[in-house]
């Protein structure tokens, strides 16, 4: 059956109108799908979290009740918040520093050509590619003071064993060790890409100018690679400041609350104690910490890039 001529004309007119609208409003139309998706998966949950932070709501018992800033006032008197902050600073400060330093040093090592470097690099990035929870489960067994392989190795060379995750004094260094093992390869990969993109000429000029290896690293490599280092630190800190899977799987924040970061505490408050309102307020604080840290880092990166 053939479409009536006036029907065809009408369809063409509609198509032309749509086409003309798209042409005129390109800046709105093309990003629209991404903006809608972002709105649904980012803006709405954050907005809802923010709303809950001003309510009192025990999950399963009634509806959220607006209580103003009471949740945020309660934060100041909650000792576990202070503990969570201290643990977070200790864990993140130590792990990010070690990951950055080791990542840089190993990247510098890989940057030199040597026989079999590709195979070594492929093996080296295995931890980065592994599933965090699976890795954490293996480490939990390895870190066990009684049956763990780490104490077996220490005692077999005549050193005393450690309590690792069973002691409040050693639990954070033990968790940092796992985090560093898992994530240093990521920093290495980013820094290595940065090193490979550096121009060769300044290095040759520096050699002729009389700089030794250490001076070349200090005066040339480090300043040139600084934006990349900061970018790597930013990427890593986004995850690290709200580290969950490794800590939760290995210690659940224990012993006691010795490894309970603010992020883990907020999870416990919301999903173990079912205080969703207060948990949301804690989450807002974590969000602000991550945000401020990254804004500062981003400024540093932009200033380092200005060369």
């Amino acid at each position: 059956m053939r479409t009536a001529p006036d029907e065809t004309t009408r369809m063409k007119t509609v198509a032309n109108k749509i086409s003309s609208f798209v042409d005129r409003r390109q800046a709105l139309v093309y990003p629209a799908p991404a903006v809608i998706a972002l709105f649904l998966i980012v803006v709405i949950p954050i907005g809802y979290n923010l709303y809950l932070a001003f309510t009192k709501w025990t999950i399963g018992l009634g509806d959220p009740r607006f209580i103003g800033i009471d949740n945020f006032i309660e934060l100041f008197w909650d000792e576990r918040v202070l503990n969570g902050l201290k643990v977070m600073i200790y864990f993140s400060g130590l792990s990010l520093t070690l990951e950055l330093v080791l990542g840089l040093l190993i990247a510098l090592y890989f940057h030199r050509e040597f026989r079999g470097s590709e195979i070594v690099q492929a093996i080296y990035i295995f931890p980065f590619a592994a599933t965090p929870v699976a890795v954490a489960l293996i480490w939990r067994i390895m870190l066990n003071p009684e049956i763990g392989v780490l104490n077996y190795l220490l005692t077999s060379i005549g050193l005393p064993g450690s309590l690792w995750i069973s002691s409040a004094a050693t639990v954070i260094p033990a968790l940092v060790m796992v985090d560093v093992w898992k994530w240093t390869p990521m920093i290495t990969l980013i820094v290595l890409a940065g090193l490979k993109s550096l121009p060769n000429d300044p290095y040759e000029a520096a050699r002729i100018d009389g700089a030794n290896t250490l001076q070349i690293f200090w005066y040339i490599t480090l300043p040139l690679i600084r934006p990349v280092l900061i970018a790597a630190l930013m990427l890593r800190s986004l995850d690290n400041l709200k580290e969950f899977d490794i800590i939760y799987t290995i210690t659940q924040g224990g012993p006691g609350i010795a490894s309970e970061t603010l992020y883990l505490y907020s999870y416990n408050v919301a999903f173990s104690f079912f205080k969703a309102g207060y948990g949301s307020a804690l989450m807002v604080v974590v969000f602000l910490i991550v945000l401020v840290f990254n804004v500062v880092m981003n400024r540093m990166r932009l200033s380092a890039q200005d060369i």
Binding site: P202, A205, A206, I208, D209, A211, Y219, L224, I307
Partner: protein
């Protein structure tokens, strides 16, 4: 200042021989230019002098000192790189002073030398700027400044003008020549641009396929090229080449090409006898091809009828692309007082005293 001597230098990169048994001797205070097409090994040779590449065999001397095993920083050389190689995160002042700082010069002396260099190059107002805030020409000056603050024995320039526009290149060419006179320094300068080589060098070293083809003062190389490569490389527009046969006829010698025959001057005869009857390459520079009334040759009559293909008018001179049967040639003629039209026939007189003959098998110069 010091002389630089390369003895039988060979550099291989796996199967590729970049520099093949190169022996050159550059005198103290000389402006030596290594020139050749891309891939001829000139930059590799320069980098070996700098110590940035290790030679496969052979010896390098700076002054009387053998420097094969001496690190770049201890060779007392300074290098200006093709891409300037400025430190992008340092301002101009720090770029200039970096080499002195690494050599632990006192800050007061560093400052004084940086000022001196800035005076010489006229870059005072740039001292606090970063390289990215400079134009190509300014970066070039800073790169030169970084070399001169060190007061080294030898300056090495690796195609330093190749990233500049044509006008700036000409200006910088003059400045570098003046700088050479002012510093009285030994300079080794690498370029692929034969015009740079001809205008700046006190001695020119022409390289091809890793080997030295000829060395000498520019005009000597221009007038008496050692082989077909040098003849074709030096001079712009390039020398015209025509494959021909050398014919002896009643005591005289003729170049018999496919579409023309010209007589060679008798003064060449002693060098031609051994090549009579053999294939040769006949070479004539564009400026040695004139209209008959402007011809300077004593062997007048060596006139060839050619057809005009393209006319390039440059103002002071005109290049005319001509064909003669299957031969194509370029002539540099005075500005004609009449319009040359494409396809018209033109009588071209060849200045035979200045023509060249090359052995067709070895490409070496016969005359």
């Amino acid at each position: 200042m010091a002389s630089v001597t390369l003895k039988n230098i060979v550099k291989r990169f796996k199967a590729v021989t970049a520099v093949d048994n190169l022996s050159i001797e550059i005198q103290d205070r000389e402006f030596a230019v290594l020139v050749g097409p891309s891939g001829c090994g000139k930059t590799t040779a320069l980098r070996m002098i700098a110590g940035l590449e290790t030679e496969t065999s052979g010896e390098i001397f700076i002054g009387d000192r053998r420097v094969n095993d001496v690190s770049p920083k201890d060779r007392d050389i300074a290098m200006v790189f093709q891409n300037y190689a400025l430190y992008p995160h340092m301002n101009v002042r720090d770029n200039l002073g970096f080499g002195l700082k690494m050599r632990k010069f006192p800050p007061s002396e560093i400052s004084q030398r940086v000022q001196e260099a800035a005076d010489i190059l006229g870059i005072h107002e740039l001292l606090d700027r970063k390289p990215k805030q400079l134009s190509g020409g300014q970066r070039q000056r800073v790169a030169v400044g970084r070399a001169i603050v060190r007061k080294p024995k030898v300056f090495l320039f690796d195609e330093p003008l190749s990233n500049l526009d044509a006008k700036l290149r000409v200006a910088m060419r003059t400045e570098i020549s003046k700088l050479h006179r002012r510093l009285g320094a030994t300079i080794i300068y690498v370029t692929h641009d034969q015009v740079e080589a001809m205008t700046m060098a006190s001695r020119i070293f022409i390289m091809h396929n890793g080997a030295l083809q000829q060395s000498g003062v520019p005009m000597e190389v221009y007038k008496q090229p050692a082989n077909r490569f040098v003849a074709g490389f030096i001079g712009s527009p390039a020398m015209n080449f025509v494959t021909a046969t050398l014919v002896a006829d009643q005591g005289a010698y003729f170049v018999q090409a496919e579409h023309f025959r010209v007589r060679l001057p008798d003064v060449f005869s002693s060098r031609l006898a051994a090549h009579a009857g053999k294939p040769v390459i006949f070479g004539v520079r564009p400026e040695d091809m004139n209209e008959p009334d402007e011809a300077v040759s004593e062997t007048r009559g060596n006139t060839v009828a050619m057809r005009v293909e393209v006319v390039e008018t440059l103002g002071a001179e005109t290049f005319v692309h001509l064909t003669c049967g299957s031969h194509t040639m370029v002539a540099r003629v005075a500005v004609p007082d009449r319009l040359l039209t494409i396809g018209q026939e033109m009588q071209i007189s060849l200045n035979m005293e200045k023509t060249h003959l090359f052995d067709e098998a070895t490409f070496q110069t016969i005359v």
